[in-house]
């Protein structure tokens, strides 16, 4: 919400902080409730599906027409989880690069905000790719959002998270575009910082989801 433009006639803010940063933190606070509701729903409905496939247990006749394997694919998801974590690292480095543009130690590829922003985008995209792969394979194994309670709550929860990641990737792309257009410098720290906060939040949410949905039975 880049609405504020600096101007001498504006009184300083009471806290000395920028509006947008306060707003984004308030937003993140409310996102906590959003994901809490989604996660609780998933956990509440866990083990209540009347037909398979199920997350961790195989499903055999008569419950299911044919034998169905447990559906969650831990290796792939562990990989995507790792990628998302690393994207957070890239993100902080991008922020640092923007903040200290031109300072010693911020030269070269490793000091370039473009590189780190790009890296973050790539990793975010990779995560989404894994999720797309996961979803399609589930559909092939007979789990759609309509199949059972597990399907509905699982796809909705991870889908919502995926949507957040997508939004984050687009946001990062706009930043990268600006960076190419006019270069991001210390004065742009704030807008990058805000995007970073959002990105990291999406990451921590996944940390919770990975444990609660994928690992714990």
């Amino acid at each position: 919400m880049a609405t504020a433009v600096a101007s001498h006639a504006h009184p300083p803010t009471s806290t000395g902080l920028d509006h947008r940063k306060i707003a984004i933190w308030a937003f993140i606070g409310s996102e906590c409730m959003l994901f809490a509701s989604l996660i609780s729903t998933y956990l509440i409905y866990k083990g209540r599906s009347v037909v398979g496939p199920f997350p961790h247990e195989a499903c055999n006749p008569p419950v299911c027409a044919t034998h169905l394997n447990p559906i969650l694919n831990i290796p792939v998801t562990s990989f995507s989880t790792f990628v998302l974590l690393m994207s957070s690292l890239a993100m902080v480095l991008a922020l640092a690069a923007v903040e200290n543009k031109g300072k010693p130690g911020y030269s070269g590829i490793l000091g370039s905000s473009k590189f780190w922003l790009f890296a973050t985008i790539v990793m975010g995209a990779t995560f989404l790719g894994c999720q797309a792969y996961e979803f399609t394979s589930f559909v092939h194994e007979g789990l759609t959002i309509r199949t059972n309670l597990f399907g509905s709550s699982f796809f909705t929860l991870t889908g919502f998270h995926g949507a957040h990641v997508t939004a984050g990737v687009l946001w990062l792309c706009t930043l990268l575009a600006i960076d190419f257009k006019r270069g991001l410098g210390p004065k742009d720290t704030l807008i990058v910082d805000i995007c970073a906060l959002y990105w990291h939040f999406v990451d921590v949410v996944w940390i919770a989801i990975f444990t609660l949905v994928y690992l714990i039975k």
């Binding site: 707003a23 937003f27 509701s37 729903t41």
Partner: protein
């Protein structure tokens, strides 16, 4: 009284048309947006009230046949939804918008255009929901739409779709506004306006924003589940798939109970402004009032299941929620007593605003006490879903929220329009309302305890309920009369009301230091605040002597008027406050001094812009297009959704890339 330069039209910073329709469509001025909220909400109050009147007419006697069963179900569903989401919340939002920046000494909210967006979303959303009447399929699932009745299997029509999409849209509006106000209050307070000097209304508004931010995501998710179920065939509320209908109930009430405090706290805030002014006495126990407000909000998240005592949660859950619910009575009681002792030893002037405030104190207590009676599960099993509950929540909502807000209207109308509402007509409205409300809702306690269920379009003769229902209907008619009187008062006073001047009531807080209506920039110079009651420090120091809250010696560029230290208010008075006015009861017209415009003062004002309106419009259309899926026009629906989505994104892009205000 010199009408010369009074009731000055809003001066705007640029050469856009400064009045007329266009200026309203494009405004980003928090005051004008507040006014828009107010009149829209009043309009919906008329509609919600009309729905109520029809229900009352149907119920005036046994086996009534004014409307059909189906119609009645649509009536109470829309009545509840309208009154809560389209009347009380927006009316509170009207005051948030108009007052918060004025009370904290700011020139606008943090994100003026986002603010306009919130209003337009609310307007289009409310219109969308009510178009359901035109297609004859108004929502009919009750205002808390319990699953599985709302599932496609039991509600195949468009009724529920209108409801869930409408609520989803209104949620966007409330959330956007909430982030805006949180930022505004945290970040835009005038120098010296520290948290413990904020006016009580701003405090309550502040708390309400957090309730909104935390409560709305939950119902958003619950509604998303419902949408997926109805549009995409998921199983969240599908009984055959083993779904649990209590999931909806819990999610809804996790939102729903905080919601009821969202509805009452703004009214509490207004009362806490009105009582001190007309008692000529600072609020009693300011810090306690603040903390009790916070405590109410916090506890409010731990009591939701008291709406579900009958569903069989088991003795442990019942007991826990019973106790947490009862606890809320304590902080609320503290407020009640503090209000009474604000008046105690005061010097009470019974203006209409004051009367409304007093009757909130008197009547909310009734609703609160019946609330505590519900809080005892074994007893609640005999109360729940009867008219006893209806009595409870109308005492807290009508005699609480609505009376508080009405008081607020009488109190702030002068500041909003520059003219006083007629006290004479106002007294008629007040007494009619007071009698009407009690006559309507008091008997419902009896009809409830004598076994009358709620949400019944008809009841049989000989149950001993007739007399109570007749009284309720009579009372409802009196309320309608009162409402018309009030409407007349507004229309009349808007044109020919007495000129208000800056500070008609002798009130203590910042908003009264500037002209009425305020110039678009509010404060020519941002005041420096040195106390909780800045204007009283100036005009009647005897009220605030040895008040711990005012840090003496803190004043910047102090200037003396009539030998009294005026702090830095002289600056803000450059915007056109006349001298004198030391006697707060003497009404001061803003004479001679004509207002400087923003340019003359070199204050950058945000450009008016139509873009937020378009973003809102396209967003609502996007949601609305989902309806096509249910009249079996899937492809057409999806195309429409995508079209409007792109349109929305595009106008959002234009919005974000256009500057807020002339940069220097």
């Amino acid at each position: 009284m010199a009408t010369a330069a009074v009731g000055v039209p809003y001066t705007v910073a640029d050469d856009y048309a400064n009045s007329g329709l266009w200026s309203w469509l494009t405004t980003v001025d928090h005051k004008r947006i507040g006014v828009l909220y107010m009149y829209t909400a009043l309009f919906w109050f008329g509609c919600g009230g009309l729905e109520a009147e029809i229900m009352r007419w149907q119920l005036k006697g046994p086996n009534g046949h004014v409307v059909t069963a189906e119609m009645f179900n649509q009536l109470f569903t829309m009545h509840g939804t309208t009154m809560i989401f389209l009347v009380v919340m927006p009316l509170s939002a009207a005051f948030f918008n108009f007052l918060i920046p004025l009370q904290i000494g700011a020139r606008d909210v943090a994100f003026p255009r986002l603010n306009a967006f919130s209003y337009w979303v609310y307007l289009f959303g409310s219109l969308f929901m009510n178009t359901s009447w035109l297609v004859g399929q108004a929502p009919n699932g009750g205002w808390f739409g319990y699953a599985p009745l709302t599932a496609l299997q039991y509600s195949p029509g468009l009724n529920i779709d209108f409801w869930m999409l409408g609520l989803q849209i209104l949620g966007v509006s409330s959330l956007a506004a909430a982030f805006n106000f949180i930022t505004t209050i945290i970040n835009m307070r005038a120098p010296g306006m520290n948290l413990m000097r904020m006016p009580m209304f701003t405090w309550m508004a502040f708390i309400v924003q957090f309730l909104l931010v935390l409560a709305f995501p939950v119902i958003t998710i619950a509604l998303v589940f419902l949408q997926f179920d109805r549009f995409f065939g998921t199983n969240f509320y599908m009984m055959t798939a083993g779904a649990d209908p209590l999931l909806w109930q819990h999610l809804f009430w996790i939102f729903g109970h905080p919601e009821v405090y969202i509805l009452i706290l703004p009214a509490f805030g207004l009362v806490s402004e009105i009582l001190p002014t007309f008692s000529r006495k600072p609020i009693f126990g300011y810090p306690v009032m603040v903390y009790s407000g916070i405590l109410i909000a916090f506890l409010g998240f731990g009591v939701w299941a008291h709406h579900m005592f009958a569903v069989g949660m088991g003795p442990i859950a019942d007991s826990v929620f019973a106790v947490t619910t009862m606890l809320i009575a304590i902080p609320t009681g503290v407020k009640i007593f503090n209000w009474i002792f604000t008046m105690w030893g005061g010097n009470l002037r019974f203006t209409v605003a004051m009367k409304y405030a007093i009757s909130l104190v008197a009547l909310f207590t009734i609703g609160g006490i019946s609330g505590v009676m519900h809080a005892s599960p074994p007893a609640d099993l005999q109360q729940t879903d009867t008219y006893f509950i209806v009595a409870h929540f109308h005492y807290v909502l009508v005699a609480g929220s609505m009376m508080g807000l009405s008081g607020g209207i009488y109190y702030y109308f002068p500041k909003i329009t520059g003219r006083m509402l007629s006290e004479k007509i106002g007294n008629w409205q007040f007494w009619l309302t007071f009698i009407g409300v009690n006559l309507t809702f008091m008997p419902m306690h009896w009809s409830g305890l004598y076994g009358m269920p709620r949400r019944v379009y008809t009841y049989d003769a000989g149950q001993g309920w007739e007399i109570f229902n007749q009284m309720s209907t009579a009372g409802a008619l009196i309320q309608a009369l009162a409402a018309f009187v009030g409407l007349y008062n507004i229309i009349k006073s808007r044109k020919s009301g007495e000129i208000a001047g800056n500070d008609p009531w002798g009130a203590p807080s910042l908003e009264w230091s500037i002209p009425s209506p305020p110039p678009d920039y509010n404060f020519a110079v941002i005041p420096t605040v040195t106390s909780r009651y800045p204007l009283w420090d100036v005009k009647s120091p005897e009220l605030t002597t040895d008040v711990p809250h005012s840090r003496v010696g803190d004043e910047h560029n102090t200037i003396a008027i009539g030998g009294k230290t005026v702090g830095s208010f002289q600056d803000s008075m450059a915007a056109g406050t006349p001298e004198g006015g030391l006697n707060p009861n003497a009404r001061q017209a803003s004479t001679k001094v004509s207002l400087k415009t923003a340019e003359q003062l070199g204050i950058p004002m945000p450009y008016p812009t139509i873009k937020p309106l378009f973003v809102a419009l396209f967003m609502v259309l996007m949601f609305a297009s989902l309806l096509l899926i249910h009249v079996n026009k899937e492809t057409m629906g999806l195309v429409a959704v995508l079209t409007f989505a792109t349109a929305m994104t595009f106008s959002l892009y234009l919005w974000l890339t256009s500057p807020l205000e002339p940069s220097h």
